[in-house]
Symmetry: C2
Subunit: 508 residues, 2 copies
């Protein structure tokens, strides 16, 4: 069995100490061993700060962008092999594997392009020179300079490629070295990608370190110029954010956590319309893609009361067509969950949901004799405001159908019971309805996605995270923010006001 390696202090270090086993979730066979025992994490942080940081900061945005393009190319070159690794180690269908890997390539390529656009600068200007004195002679200007620490990225297991590269792209382009920690269940793919990055891309020494396994006492050694970005559960997010050393040193922490993403059908939508078809397709995709292990997956579906039964029947019929099985099989539309513990949690979640509503399809029963499979599951709520459906994210192909009156404000009030989400989608051809709804849910969401017949044919699914748009959400979703073009760099930069002679400021 393979021992996965970490890449720290400029060298590969095989798993050591107490080892965890990475398992093929389809066949429940062991694939590799993971462990970070023996790594001196204080030295790893110092290495990033002292070697990687200065080297990255000396590069221009265009040069950093080229490095990102190099990473994208290295991944693209081995795309087929990586897809196979994803199918085997993540239980992803070929489509799911492409979604993750192409997501990584796309995001890297986008930020490579942004680097090219930002050109020969090494730091950013933030706004214009503003007059402060009696005349413009004494003025002020804001700059955004790279922070002098290490960006520690604690990634989720669900997107070993995209999740890691989305964070790394922003940090590296901003000029900060990274320390990546992939989620353990799917670490095999992250490790293969890390090997490509180290072998094929001429990154500065110390700019890209990867720990496969536990981060040990890393958090105890982080300082005021380091940053921590985490994607995962709210509970772990809170533990990290409240870590005494991070609190003491005001270390910046970005959390992207649970999100009970909602899809809302407005009362004006004709069942024969393009928008209605899009609604059904998107809901089924966002429930079942990656076996529902997607931070932007649909968890709540709001439908006007009088349309509830017909929508339920349509969804049940569509979900029945989802073939659940070995992801290596071409007919399979949905693979297993990524790990045994995820399976246990999803099953328990379905059982709790079934107590508060009516199971329309799926359930917690085993699907196959082997593998961490669960059936696409739809629960129908009696009352749209039933608290059980607004406080718990079941991280699998599980959603609840909630009735509401059809009123945009009522829909928003129900959606907002989720306590903060990453994305909320609405389907309406009534612009006034859409605007009211969007502005009512906006304070509680990082992203609002609006469908109508006018854009249905071109629109990308709401579950798709685009580098141009911010990703993150308030409250339960972690209170963080990533991506959003140049906005995604700000977390890795210090914004500093500079005041002085106008002629001098203009040379910055």
């Amino acid at each position: 069995m393979e021992r996965l390696e970490s890449y720290v202090l400029g060298r590969w270090q095989p798993a050591a100490g107490e080892l965890a086993t990475v398992v093929d979730p389809t066949h429940e066979t062991p694939l590799g061993q993971v462990g970070s025992h023996g790594i001196d994490f204080q030295a790893v942080l110092a290495y990033g700060r002292e070697k990687g940081g200065p080297a990255l900061r000396a590069l221009t945005f265009a040069e950093r962008g080229k490095l990102l393009a190099g990473i994208a190319a290295a991944i693209h070159e081995k795309r087929d092999e990586l897809i196979d690794v994803s199918i085997q180690s993540g239980g992803t269908t070929r489509g799911d594997a492409k979604f993750d890997i192409d997501g990584a390539i796309g995001t890297l390529t986008y930020y490579a392009g942004l680097g090219e656009k930002l050109g020969s600068r090494t730091y950013l200007l933030d706004g214009d020179v503003v007059q402060l004195g009696r005349t413009p002679r004494f003025s002020g200007l804001h700059v955004r300079v790279p922070r002098r620490g290490v960006a520690v990225h604690v990634n989720a297991f669900n997107f070993p490629a995209w999740g890691m590269m989305e964070k790394a792209a922003c940090a590296l382009l901003a000029g900060m070295p990274v320390l990546e920690k992939p989620g353990t269940p799917t670490a095999l793919l992250a490790w293969r990608i890390a090997r490509l990055v180290i072998e094929k891309v001429k990154l500065p020494d110390g700019a890209f370190q990867v720990v496969i396994g536990s981060l040990g006492d890393t958090l105890d050694h982080m300082g005021p110029q380091d940053v921590l970005a985490f994607t995962g559960s709210s509970a772990t997010g809170a533990k990290l954010r409240g870590h005494p050393n991070l609190v003491r040193h005001n270390v910046r922490v970005n959390v992207e956590a649970d999100s009970l993403n909602a899809a809302v059908l407005a009362p004006d939508v004709d069942t024969g319309s393009e928008t209605f078809g899009l609604f059904l397709n998107n809901v089924v995709t966002d429930m079942t893609q990656k076996t529902g292990q997607k931070c932007t997956a649909v968890r709540r579906i709001l439908v006007p009361s009088d349309a509830l039964n017909s929508v339920r029947d349509e969804l049940v019929a569509a979900l029945a067509r989802i073939v659940v099985g070995d992801p290596a099989d071409k007919l399979t539309r949905m693979g297993p969950l990524a790990s045994k513990s995820q399976l246990d949690e999803v099953r328990a979640g379905i059982e709790r949901f079934a107590q508060s509503g009516t199971l329309a399809c799926g359930g917690s029963k085993p699907v196959h004799a082997k593998g961490y499979f669960v059936a696409p599951t739809l629960v129908v709520a009696r009352d749209g405001r039933e608290p059980a459906f607004h406080r718990e994210e079941v991280f699998g192909p599980v959603a609840v159908l909630l009735p509401y009156s059809g009123d945009a404000r009522e829909a928003a009030a129900i959606v907002n019971l989720g306590g903060g989400g990453l994305v909320c989608s609405a389907y309406s051809n009534d612009a006034a309805w859409s605007t009211t709804f969007a502005l009512e849910v906006a304070p509680w969401h990082g992203r609002v996605w609006l469908a109508s017949d006018k854009s249905a044919e071109q629109s990308l699914a709401p579950g798709m995270v685009l580098p141009q748009m911010v990703h993150g959400g308030p409250g339960r979703a972690g209170g963080g923010e990533e991506l959003g073009a140049e906005r995604g760099l700000a977390f890795y930069q210090q914004r500093t006001a500079i005041q002085g002679f106008q002629g001098h400021l203009q040379t910055l």
Copy 2:
């Protein structure tokens, strides 16, 4: 003796329960009693969220700006009375009192103007519409909408007027109701101002609440849409930031804390130049204004080794001319510290500093028989990197003179030992020296202030916080950010990406 009142739930509530006494720091005579016992803080937050929030959000930026202009006018109308209250209750000289009160008026007026400029909108757009689909038909846009909670402001005692109004101006303009908690030692002035605001300005009910005294269990009742902004010590800042309820709900927290602000003299500056004169003047002002109780006060003065003795002599001579005494006396240039506990802390700090360096003037000895007075104190360090001078802020008229080689990078390295600051100033006519220094200290500072002969005549002192420029700093300084024109509103807003039909986005 007066009982100070809180203004909560739409009514005045006199101090009750265990009372603290507010004392005139010059004569050590009691002025009033403070206490917030009996206030239902959960209800206060709910009142802000349910009454103040919706009413403020319904107003346009221009209308909110008019409210700020109204507050500025109400303060201005009673400026002379307020100055007297400041002198008596804060121990401020007339100049110091004006600095605080006019700072409040100026900041309110600036944000009133920004509101007028933002006009008839009720929320902000953030960047342009960007194409996401094959054609611009499917596009994305970012908006910044007011958060649906209460902005809780824990203000410092040193700027009862400016500090409170700087935070309130940004929150109210963004569309969030505030709950202000002034620092207790100088709460008399904050209370008088709050009375003017409530009596003279037609603010929506619930938009402006003030608690004079402890915040009780407020933090336990804050939710994901509330925000907390704090100005004060690093230790209290860390306690607030790590508060379990705030961590659990991902409540946004902004901290502005300790800062060992440095002033650096470059080796090129001629002692006869305008820049050298400005250096001496600014250092003396930023040491002694508000008796050194200013978050932007100069704590460290870096001077090339060969100029150390002459600069020391000049500063000692200038500090000797600072008359310390009753601030009501026109000849007085520096009043007492604000409270007995501040006096004790500053004296202890001076004694610790004296052990690591040489006292050039001042010291911890009592200045007058009555009152919380301390002498302007200058300590000379043997070694510029002596750790004692880079880890502790003594919050009084106390600074240390540190030798360095004259090299810009060495100066920056020494300054950065402070672990993160609010502002750093440098005096040089060598543009290359200034740029190198500015970019080296920028990651560790919220603001860098550069003097040269070219702007000396017009420049405002580095200790002056301007609404156009961000205020805050990384690390020890709290990791927060305030003001900076429109930037100051972002903390009170949720940035949300909206994706949909281009024609629809253009109507937002």
